[in-house]
Amino acid sequence: MTTMNHTKPGQKSYDDTHWVKEATRVCLSASNGDLEARVLHIDNGSKLAPMLHAINQMLDLTDAFVREAGASLAFASDGMYFRRVLPHGFRGSFERTAATINNATIRMDHDAKELKQAQGERDELVEDIKTAKEVSGLLDQATRDIEQMFAVISDIANRTNMVALNATIEAARVGEAGRGFAVVASEVSKLAQQSTSLTKQIQQNVISIRQVSSQTINSIERILEVLDRQVVQAQEATLNLKDVKAPARAA
């Protein structure tokens, strides 16, 4: 026993072997991840005291760093990015790693804000596209209505033609006196035929418009499906993060 005793009255004095055992116990606890252990009741008269204080100091800083880094990352995984690692008291690797974590949370904060903005823009886009779908639906309905009118127009043209034909027959029956009327009837018949052929052309055009508008509606529906999937994926990603976070909290 070579230790000099500078203990106060009533305080038990220990030899160097005791302090070496204590230091070993604390260091082993720390290496097993228990950062709570410290050397207590250090006898400042012992020549080992500076070493024992140094061990405590090393553990204090390691412990503080783990708590700081853990808290900052736990907040970040909850979507709160203001909780930075406090740099005070940390030097060297501790300080550099703290800066790395803080840069990461600053970046996450930035990305989260951009993502939120993008989500807002996507929501606006979905609304615009829904409006476009409605307009295309109206256009489609309008062309169907026009197509129904073609049947009526075509019927009128046929009947006009029939009336003209009958008029020609009646004109022939009255002989010379009906000649002028026969010319009029023939013109009416030509007009009816022109009207029929023009109606057919318009009908073709309307069919083209309808095909285009139904293609437009299909495209819009596909775009909406993709956007809906993105919304669902974003929601699932958020949920997954919450699942991941739970065990991290308990640790």
């Binding site: 207590l40 909780r83 008291g89």
Partner: protein
């Protein structure tokens, strides 16, 4: 023995590179106090171990801040606070305290850990008048419970008027 509340008005400081560390059991009794703590608060390790952490309580600290702090950590949350402490001789020192619970392998809180850093001077300028305001409210009441019951709504109201959570306020101040 009556508690010695005498104050000298002298402020003590520690270095920016240093952290005052203490650990307590779940009842708030000190189980560890590092060298910086001992040096700044003018206590020896033997004088601190086993004592309530109240040993460094300063009368200028509003009770509602401790009430708030205790409610937060006992439910498992970390908490930050600007705190003025009293040294053994009546001197005082300001800290920016970070208190966290320590869990055992079953997820139960087994102890509390406090790291205290040098507070930002700008933050203290904003905190001091707020604490003064809270203390003025508390001084109109007699029992500690009446005191914090009266001042806690004022603290909450202050946060609401700023539109910040407590943590956001703290980090805004120290940023």
């Amino acid at each position: 023995m009556a508690r010695d509340w005498s104050l000298t008005g002298n402020e003590r400081f520690f270095d920016h590179d240093e952290i005052i560390v203490s650990k307590t059991d779940t009842k708030g009794r000190i189980t560890y106090a590092n060298e910086v703590f001992q040096r700044v608060a003018l206590y020896t390790e033997e004088e601190l171990l086993g004592k309530s952490h109240n040993i460094v309580r300063h009368p200028d600290m509003p009770r509602c801040v401790f009430k708030f702090l205790w409610d937060r950590i006992s439910t498992g949350h970390e908490v930050f606070a600007y705190v003025v402490n009293r040294c053994k001789n009546g001197d005082y020192y300001w800290v920016f305290a970070h208190v966290t619970p320590t869990y055992n392998e079953h997820g139960r809180i087994v102890s509390y850990h406090s790291s205290r850093r040098v507070p930002d001077a700008g933050a203290l300028e904003q905190i001091k008048p707020l604490y003064r305001e809270l203390l003025d409210i508390e001084q109109r009441y007699r029992t500690p419970r009446e005191q914090w019951e009266a001042s806690l709504p004022a603290l909450v109201g202050k946060l609401e008027s700023l539109g910040l959570s407590y943590d956001e306020l703290i980090f805004t101040l120290c940023a």
